[in-house]
């Protein structure tokens, strides 16, 4: 029960956090409510996708299908990291326009594509981690311990929802400039963590050379094999023993993001 709570909480936290941050941002910037509708549609689609992906992972028997699913999951990591980054940059532009009371300048098409981005990001966030939750819950259901399953799972979902709600509420308290900045930073850090996870998968599958592995070992300071360390690793991309390839990808990511951020600030 305690374990079910922790696993479900951790697996759903990322999706809830992304949803919470987007919600806080949309609420402050979009009066029509159509952005928030897009967000909820995306979340619902993600739940459906999670079940589909979970089912696919469960029924996989042969190696080839397993590899195809691995590739698919790796691809979703890259797509999610890319989309979140693009969305943050879009939000920055959009937010500036709103602040300058240039709402009319924002064409309907730009708004639509932005909302589509929000929906897709939300759907991917739910689908990715949700698939693992589906398998975890399926395993528990097979144990036959349905009471513990329901209690643990519901408490985990509620806990993750409450954590995200708290984050969204505290973000909403901030003034609009700070809200935009902080939510952007949180989302970008999450995106970089997804990128590192994707690179890890490519390294693990032997599709990318690690170059130098590990570059250092900081497990004495913060061990990513512990419960808390793993949580930090999942959300920030931290690795106690990073490969050079991962470090290069990380540095390139932040280099490109900071460059684009500065440029969009000038425009």
């Amino acid at each position: 029960m305690g374990n079910a709570f922790f696993v479900v909480w951790r697996e759903s936290l990322e999706a809830f956090l992304i949803a919470g941050i987007l919600y806080a941002w949309l609420k402050a910037n979009d009066d029509s409510g159509s952005g928030r509708r897009a967000l909820f549609l995306g979340l619902a689609a993600g739940a459906g996708l999670a079940m589909l992906l979970g089912w696919a992972l469960l029924t996989v028997q042969d190696e080839l299908t397993g590899e195809a699913l691995d590739m698919f999951q790796t691809a979703t990591l890259f797509v999610a990291a890319g989309l979140i980054t693009q969305m943050v940059l879009w939000m920055r532009k959009h937010g500036r326009q709103m602040k300058a009371r240039l709402h009319a300048d924002l064409t309907a098409a730009a708004e639509k594509s932005g909302h589509l981005g929000v929906a897709v990001v939300a759907a991917l966030a739910v689908a990715r981690e949700g698939a693992e939750t589906v398998i975890f819950l399926y395993g528990m259901a097979q144990e036959g311990d349905l009471n513990a399953l329901l209690l643990g799972a519901l408490a985990g979902f509620a806990g993750a929802g409450a954590t995200a709600w708290l984050a969204a509420k505290s973000l909403a308290r901030l003034n609009i400039g700070l809200l935009l900045r902080l939510s952007s930073i949180l989302l970008l850090v999450l995106a970089s963590a997804l990128l590192i996870a994707a690179i890890d998968r490519l390294l693990g599958a032997g599709w990318l050379p690690p170059l130098l592995d590990p570059v250092w070992d900081s497990s004495a300071l913060l061990d990513d094999g512990t419960k808390a360390g793993k949580l930090i690793a999942d959300f920030s991309g931290y690795r106690a023993r990073p490969a050079l390839t991962s470090l290069l990808a990380w540095a390139t990511y932040w280099g490109v993001v900071i460059f684009a951020w500065r440029r969009s600030g000038r425009g």
Binding site: F136, E143, K227, K230, R241
Partner: protein, 110 residues
């Protein structure tokens, strides 16, 4: 034409994975009751090998190692294989992400 090319590529891919599978030592790891059996796996250093992970349940498990960059979700009763690339001598930790309290193990490459 494109279709034929795809088939050839696919056949080559199959052949290469089959060839790889042949000359690799295989080790077995059992996941049961939230624990690993054995908890310490000894493997030769600088050698590619295959690890056959079986989850006997109860419940789903997730074999994971950030050091070794592996992540594999297993429903109860499922067996899957992981290929590990040559590793330097040393100790590498892995854990069961669905049972982090009890599911801890390590690979010792010698």
């Amino acid at each position: 034409m494109k279709h034929a090319l795809n088939s050839v590529v696919f056949a080559l891919f199959l052949a290469s994975t089959a060839a790889l599978a042949d000359d690799m030592p295989t080790y077995k790891l059992l996941m049961k009751d939230g624990r690993f059996y054995p908890e310490t796996l000894e493997v030769p250093a600088l050698t590619r090998f295959r690890l056959e992970v079986k989850n006997e349940g109860p419940g789903a498990t997730e074999f994971e190692s950030l050091e070794l960059k592996k992540e594999l979700v297993l429903a109860p009763g499922v067996t899957r294989s992981l290929v590990f690339y040559p590793m330097k001598p040393g100790t590498y930790k892995f854990f069961d992400d669905f049972h982090p309290e009890t599911g801890q193990g390590r690979i010792v490459a010698k």
